[in-house]
Subunit: 321 residues, 2 copies
């Protein structure tokens, strides 16, 4: 078995490879060539333990995460976990990797694939609302997916936006990284808007005149009572693409508008089918929404690629079982 | 996080400590101070992936095993897996250890605790039917629980019994280890009989005259269609103790006799209650049955003790997350 920590994971796979791997996962999703039980959740007091097994034809593994909300009080990460990768023939565990970094990287790549396929090709500006760890990877992948010149950052706590600005400046030397004071200012300036918050109220202003023609990449809401997007978006949106069909039930950003008859479930397409069947839907001057909630299939397909590349490039540490 | 392989695990805990820890687990079971969901099982073709989370007041963890029956054809272990131990407050993974060795050790100790509490104090002879990896640990722990002078081994494939004989001779220098040619010969010579097979048919002869006064420790059957014990045993047995209440449904060695009205469910006591309430049930000259199917509670309590002792004695390797 090999073990890959954060640095090992980041060294093993490039942003482009990771996005190509997410596109492979979308192909597997569209072709239904996977076996993914519902996410298993065990609660004990404030702790939640999550088990996300998934099998494809080539790979098999499980992401195991623990969520401990009280850790915020003692300045520890709320989430800890590992990804186990098994040999699909023998079941042997061949690789264990840091589950936090895998989640960040694959979620960034899932966002990046959305940017690549649901925005106009010539977009130059991105606005990011929510400037946590996930925001960092969203911007990194978005800037790889399109030729972005300027990134606008907004967070209710401005210091957090400034902190991310500094981190992004190190990674994206040719991109202007600008902290703005309001979501309105961000909306006015950005062609692509990425939301990566854990909000229960819309973080984008409910003004359709500001939303028309924009490309929205919504990453944050993964529960029915979580919401990042305003109702006005659904007045003007031309195309909605989701990462998984169950996003319609899991995310308040779709569940609530469907329940309130602002959109119809059947008008929402999943990215797997969209990539397979896409006969050239033109995103220019269109208002688009790409909504992701994530799934274990992304984890195992990306983790397996990271594992293969780590072996090839002799990255990671051996553990004798 | 520290990682413990087979050698590390065996170095970290003595046989006596491990049995004392299983007795602690039984106390937790009797007091109902644990949170253990049903074992989670995911199947994909010939592979089965098992997730066994368990929480106690002090510890939390998950054993993850893969079962690949086809591995036997290529001389690889059928089972692979790991145990993750988490901090009960923060959820952080503090230790990962070889799941195969943990399973062997804790199952051996569960058997040993049965020998210690359901056999006459002065027994000198053991017979083991089924001489795989698990048989090795059963004998080791049984010889620690009682002052055993002779161990009889029986296996349908005699070479396997001879192989185990050689291994046991290295560990138990003061004990005679004898391979016998039939289960009848084994029954005649042994006061304690341990069964550790995966059989679907009884492996003990259906003769009550040979079973009267014997102490049976049955470890193998963990599914309703698996059976090691003959019907005749239930004609003569005075006391039945199980490791878990659900053993009555899970093991064919109890499920079938209950269904066929050979025994009553309410006459079967669990070891947790037995140890807590035992006002001195005399095992001398009694026919007893101790039946174990195992549970995640044993894994986490034993794994947590192994982890604590490994930290104290600086055993294992550090893994940077």
């Amino acid at each position: 078995m090999i073990y890959l920590n954060k640095e090992d994971i980041l060294k093993s796979i490039t942003l482009d490879e990771c996005m190509a791997t997410v596109e492979e996962a979308y192909k597997i999703y569209a072709d239904k060539l996977f076996n993914m039980p519902d996410r298993i959740q065990v609660e004990n007091g404030d702790l939640t333990s999550l088990y996300m097994p998934c099998f494809t034809e080539k790979s098999f593994g499980t992401k195991i995460l623990t969520v401990a909300p009280n850790n915020a009080k003692i300045n520890k990460p709320i989430i800890d976990g590992v990804m186990l990768v098994n040999n699909i023939e023998t079941g042997e565990i061949v690789c264990m990797m840091d589950g936090k970094t895998l989640t960040s990287v694959r979620t960034g790549a899932v966002g990046g694939v959305g940017v690549r396929h649901t925005t106009s090709e010539d977009v130059k500006t991105i606005g990011l609302i929510g400037t946590g760890e996930q925001g960092f990877y969203q911007v990194l992948y978005a800037c790889k997916a399109r030729n972005i010149k300027t990134v606008y950052l907004y967070n209710r706590t401005k210091e957090k936006a400034i902190k991310l600005q500094e981190e992004l400046k190190k990674e994206l030397e040719d991109v202007d990284i600008i902290v703005v004071n309001s979501s309105i200012e961000l909306l006015k300036n950005s062609e692509v808007i990425i939301t990566a918050t854990t909000s229960h109220q819309p973080v984008i202003d409910n003004k359709k005149e500001l939303l028309k023609g924009k490309h929205i990449i919504a990453i944050g809401s993964y529960k029915p009572d979580m919401r990042e997007l305003p109702d006005a978006l659904f007045d003007v949106v031309d195309k909605i693409v989701v990462d998984t069909d169950f996003a319609k039930e899991e995310s308040g950003d779709l569940y609530q508008p469907i329940k309130n008859n602002l959109i119809k479930s059947e008008d929402i397409e999943n990215m797997g089918n969209f990539l397979r069947d896409n006969k050239g839907f033109d995103m220019n001057n269109k208002t688009t929404l790409y909504k992701s909630v994530g799934m274990g299939l992304f984890d195992i397909v990306v983790a397996n690629k990271i594992y293969e590349k780590a072996i090839k490039n002799e990255i990671g540490k051996n553990i004798d079982l």
